[in-house]
């Protein structure tokens, strides 16, 4: 715990020194902000749930980055087609195949641990990008809607209502079944785009058809993701808008945009940050659910939800190990973000920080 605190504190100071170099006097001007960050980091290092969550997220991140590079078996090689002996055996189950492969194979003879390394990358990229595209969209719309009020507010909120009025999964299914053919056409003609996205997801360029399916899940999820943020941000803006410091900012002649982003946004951001952390977990499971329903990429792409849904066809005789292992991986990814979000909710609450500050002062006096 002490180690976590020291590491994070040194990161804060490294950042502060960088800013100091760019604009001298930054540390002095922002000393209270740095103090606040230090308190946050202290509170975090005291929360075992948060530290465990952060550790899981870090490991998932590392696996997502290096996974496709260290995977010892390419996901597109069906061993069963090359090896006659494998064909008439059930997929290798964990107790019977001691040593290698560790957790058995799927029904095509592929090592599921190697497959899951590709799966990490796909799940991670989808969930992160969905939240980091969907949330800002919702935040901007919520800011405008709450601050402007009147007709603008009414229009934005009616559109938000429309998107909230039908379940996200259904809307996403509708989008995910419409888009692939269009995206496929774009990927077919544009090779740079193809190379970029296949690199991002850790897939081969030949699989651009599956890539199109992945991208359409992506797009579908962004579209269903923003309304929640728009609602929440609008609500907080409504209460912040009436505060004296906003009045002061208006009187000093600041433009609407700088009031919105410099004065209102920082005051409504902490619940949104907590929500984003939880939502990365939800997005991971949501994407897996879409591919579980068969809307995402098909063979041979090892998207976790899709592999589980295929294993489900042989469940339980030949594929308990696949469902169990990949299910636990999905559980761990989502659990990491949920634990982190649970801790962040306490840390970002100013009351918690004041309580810690008070306690530390008291200890010093002793």
């Amino acid at each position: 715990m002490e180690f976590v605190y020291k590491t994070l504190k040194s990161i804060i100071w490294a950042y502060a020194k960088l800013r100091e170099k760019l604009s001298p006097g930054w540390i002095l001007k922002n000393s209270s902000r740095i103090r606040e960050w230090e308190l946050m980091v202290y509170a975090y290092s005291k929360s075992p749930i948060g530290v465990i969550g952060g550790l899981i997220v870090l490991i998932v991140f590392i696996l997502a980055v290096i996974g496709p590079l260290i995977a010892w078996e390419p996901y597109w090689e069906y061993k069963i087609l090359y090896d006659e002996n494998l064909r008439y055996h059930p997929p290798c189950l964990p107790p019977s195949c001691s040593g290698y492969p560790l957790f058995g194979t799927d029904e095509w003879g592929r090592d599921i641990v190697a497959m899951s390394l590709y799966g990490f990358r796909i799940s991670f990229v989808i969930s992160i990008v969905v939240v980091f595209l969907g949330a800002p969209l919702g935040i901007i719309l919520g800011l405008i809607s709450g601050y402007k009020g009147g007709v603008v507010d009414e229009i934005i909120m009616r559109v938000t209502d429309i998107f909230l009025a039908f379940p996200g999964l259904v809307l996403a299914i509708a989008f995910a079944s419409v888009l692939p053919q269009r995206i496929r056409g774009v990927l077919e003609t544009n090779s740079a785009l193809r190379a970029f996205f296949s690199g991002l997801f850790g897939l081969r360029q030949e699989e651009y058809g599956q890539l199109a399916a992945l991208l359409s899940i992506w797009f579908a999820m962004v579209i269903v993701w923003w309304p929640g943020y728009a609602r929440i941000v609008r609500g907080s803006v409504l209460s912040v808008r009436e505060m004296p410091f906003i009045e002061a900012a208006k009187l000093s002649g600041l433009s609407t945009w700088s009031i919105l982003f410099k004065h209102i946004l920082p005051n409504v951001l902490s619940p949104v940050l907590v929500m984003m952390t939880f939502d990365i977990a939800t997005a991971t499971l949501f994407a897996a659910s879409l591919s579980f329903l068969g809307l995402g990429p098909q063979e041979p792409v090892p998207e976790l939800g899709f592999v589980i849904s295929k294993a489900g066809g042989y469940f339980p005789e030949r594929s308990t190990h696949v469902v169990l292992y990949l299910g636990i991986i999905l559980l761990i990814i989502a659990l990491g973000w949920n634990l982190l979000g649970d801790a962040l909710r306490d840390i970002l609450d100013p009351k918690t920080r004041r309580a810690i500050e008070y306690r530390l002062e008291k200890e010093k006096k002793k």
């Binding site: 299914i173 079944s177 469940f315």
Partner: protein, 357 residues
């Protein structure tokens, strides 16, 4: 008292009026998405092999596929509102199928909701009473794991345990009341005017129909068929509900009126009763929205447990580009959304007398 009712009525009227543009927007967007699909829906309905140019033209003319998109849309909406919408794949009125699918989803929602309340409320109350105890910690873990667990994996393992090993459920079909019972129930509106309609509508949900006719073995069978998905839904969200019950109960217990009640020397039980009633507002919101979510069809649960419900119907319709069914399902789900939100708002006023509309 009179004023309260007028206020409530005008509140409901206002809500319904503001919902009309939303409803049109939902239908329009759904239609435009479906319209944007670069495939020929008629081919998907009829199937490639059975294609006969004449029938093709007939179907196209019937659904106005040669007209511009807004005429098609208005045509579909007209059919929807007059109840004439026809399912081009099954060749019967959409609403016949939709009613039977919704009845199944409704049963599942009730069973799931039952488990949700049975798991969530007691656990939440215990966690609040024994704050920071192992039970409290367990509830926290349950909420976190429940929201991190991929639902379909839980479903598979519940099936493995309850179907393959202890064999206390089955995974095909939905039990229906006997045909004598359904005929009696559906003929009720002719003999008793208003009440008969209501009774027959409730009776069209198989489980309730069987209850009304006293066919308890059918009710038991229904429960046997649906308790497993219900339990799964309860396990997944129960921890979350328990956390909300716990937090709002603890909030309520730290208020001044509770201190006052304690100071007056009230018995522990009645102090708790005071707190519980005031802690219920956020709980009712979440439970209501959860029930609404269940009514819109749990697609994944319906897929894994092989239940012919609303979610599955809509999924199949999307996959086959079945516009009329997609529009009808979207309409139903949007209406469920508004009704659930409205009921939750009205329940606020029932629970908390300070809230008036």
């Amino acid at each position: 008292m009179e004023g309260v009712n007028v206020g409530l009525a005008s509140f409901i009227a206002r809500r319904i009026i503001t919902f009309i543009p939303t409803l049109i927007g939902v239908l329009l967007i759904t239609y435009l998405i479906a319209y944007a699909i670069p495939a020929d829906p008629v081919r998907a309905w009829v199937g490639e092999k059975l294609m006969n140019p004449e029938t093709l033209e007939q179907i196209k003319a019937k659904y106005k596929f040669n007209a511009p998109w807004y005429e098609q849309f208005i045509f579909l909406i007209q059919q929807l509102l007059t109840g004439q919408l026809e399912d081009p794949v099954r060749h019967k009125n959409v609403f016949t199928e939709l009613t039977s699918r919704f009845a199944v989803t409704f049963e599942l929602a009730i069973v799931g909701f039952l488990f949700l309340v049975l798991i969530g409320l007691p656990l939440g109350i215990i966690a609040a009473v024994k704050k920071d105890s192992p039970v409290d910690f367990a509830v926290r873990v349950m909420a976190l794991v429940g929201s991190s667990l991929p639902a379909f994996v839980l479903y598979y393992f519940l099936i493995l345990a309850f179907f393959n090993y202890i064999q206390t459920t089955y995974l095909a079909g939905i039990p229906m009341p006997s045909s004598a019972c359904t005929t009696t129930l559906s003929s009720l509106p002719q003999t008793i005017p208003v009440l008969g309609n209501i009774v027959s509508a409730i009776g069209s949900i198989p489980m309730f129909g069987a209850m009304m006719c006293g066919e308890w073995s059918i009710v038991l069978d229904t429960f046997k068929r649906l308790y497993l998905p219900g339990l799964a839904l309860g396990l997944l969200n129960g921890g979350f509900i328990a956390r909300i019950v716990r937090n709002s109960l603890l909030d309520a217990l730290s208020t001044e009126y509770i201190s006052y009640a304690k100071a007056r020397g009230l018995r522990k039980l009645s102090v708790w009763r005071h707190a519980l009633k005031n802690a219920m507002v956020p709980v009712v919101t979440v439970l209501g929205l959860n029930f609404g979510g269940l009514l819109s069809g749990a697609i994944i649960a319906e897929t894994v447990f092989n239940i012919p419900g609303l979610g599955r119907y809509m999924y199949d319709a999307i996959m086959r580009l079945n516009f009329p069914v997609i529009i009808a399902c979207t309409f139903l789900i949007a209406v469920i959304y508004i009704v659930v939100n409205l009921v939750v708002d009205i329940l606020y006023a029932v629970i908390d007398p300070r809230i008036r509309y």
